[in-house]
Symmetry: C2
Subunit: 208 residues, 2 copies
């Protein structure tokens, strides 16, 4: 596929077919992941590909519990869950709830992790893992697979690390369910560029 | 360009031509940026496109000062700067030093920012800005422009925010110099997939 077509039509797909994904496709997706940059080219990323049905079901149970009992206490999501049903915010919550109810049924979950080497993991450590996560989302879309990026598993981080044998000096940065899409690819709702791009000084219009 | 060719040949390009970049190219790059996901689709990203020569020079001075006086005190970089000259680590440091000496000469700097809405910005807030940053790096490569992702400006965060009028509730997540490349695109050195991808449990080989 042409590069900009992939970028412009990649969007969160939270309704996934349970059909399995061939090894070769998973390999292509992870080979795209490791082309991303990382701080000092340290490549502290580790990608845990979870295909075992029992593990997926247990992660799904933890995720669902976190979604209903923790996420909905966050003011932004609590408010969004009460927004008019046809608003963009309410649609995101509804789709996110569907994912919470079914994430364990996705044929593959990729848990993108970062070895922190004992450093505290602040915002900028994200520069060493989320570019690779974005390459996963884009490569999956190029190969016809649906994904979304979620961090809600972090409400049950301790349990998930124990379940999967993840060491303490590793952060679980993103959970990515993968599957053939039941939803459609296409442009997601976004603010106009003029609202988010400035020229030279904060708040100054670009004029283009 | 074909999607996987872009992904596989995008790499840090730290030697840049000072020739200007057309508005239309910058617009295409930022339109790719905002296709990325963000938590709850909040789109708290703001992209400050810095083209003014005086501002670029002042940012360049701050960046160079941070590189020599702060970055080289970080053990990883101090060690890397003393590694054998033909090692991958030493090459990254040498290229990074060139960038530090010349970043203000890049025709455009993009400062990717994140409005945090008063939340503390930890690792997972990176999931709302670095996917967009990766789209910038990839779109630039698709359009023949060199870039790299750096966070070294954060050593002079206060001064840079004052210079550009950036509010306190905004994080400066990445600085991206853009220009036509003097270096070559191509595959950057990476660990083999077998070292960074596991199946079902931490440390377990995928077999593919």
């Amino acid at each position: 596929m042409e590069f900009f077509e992939v970028v412009h039509t990649q969007r969160a797909i939270r309704r996934l077919d349970p059909d399995p994904i061939p090894d070769d496709v998973l390999r292509q997706i992870l080979e795209a992941a490791v082309c991303a940059p990382s701080g000092g080219n340290r490549q502290g990323w580790r990608f845990l590909v979870i295909r075992d049905a029992t593990l997926r079901r247990r992660i799904g149970d933890l995720y669902r519990d976190a979604w209903y009992n923790d996420l909905l206490k966050v003011p932004y999501y609590r408010d969004a869950s009460q927004a008019p049903a046809d608003s963009d915010r309410a649609k995101v919550v509804s789709s996110s709830r569907h994912l919470a109810d079914h994430i364990g049924e996705a044929p593959v979950l990729i848990l993108a992790c970062l070895e922190t080497e004992g450093m505290s993991a602040g915002l900028t450590q994200g520069a060493s893992i989320y570019p690779a996560v974005q390459n996963i989302l884009l490569a999956a879309r190029a190969l016809g697979l649906g994904t979304t990026l979620t961090t809600i598993h972090r409400f049950r981080d301790r349990e998930i690390k124990t379940l999967l044998g993840i060491p303490d000096n590793v952060e679980t940065a993103a959970l990515i369910p993968l599957g053939y899409p039941l939803g459609k690819f296409g442009r997601a709702p976004r603010k106009p560029l003029a609202e988010v791009a400035y020229l030279d000084r904060w708040g100054q219009a670009t004029g283009w």
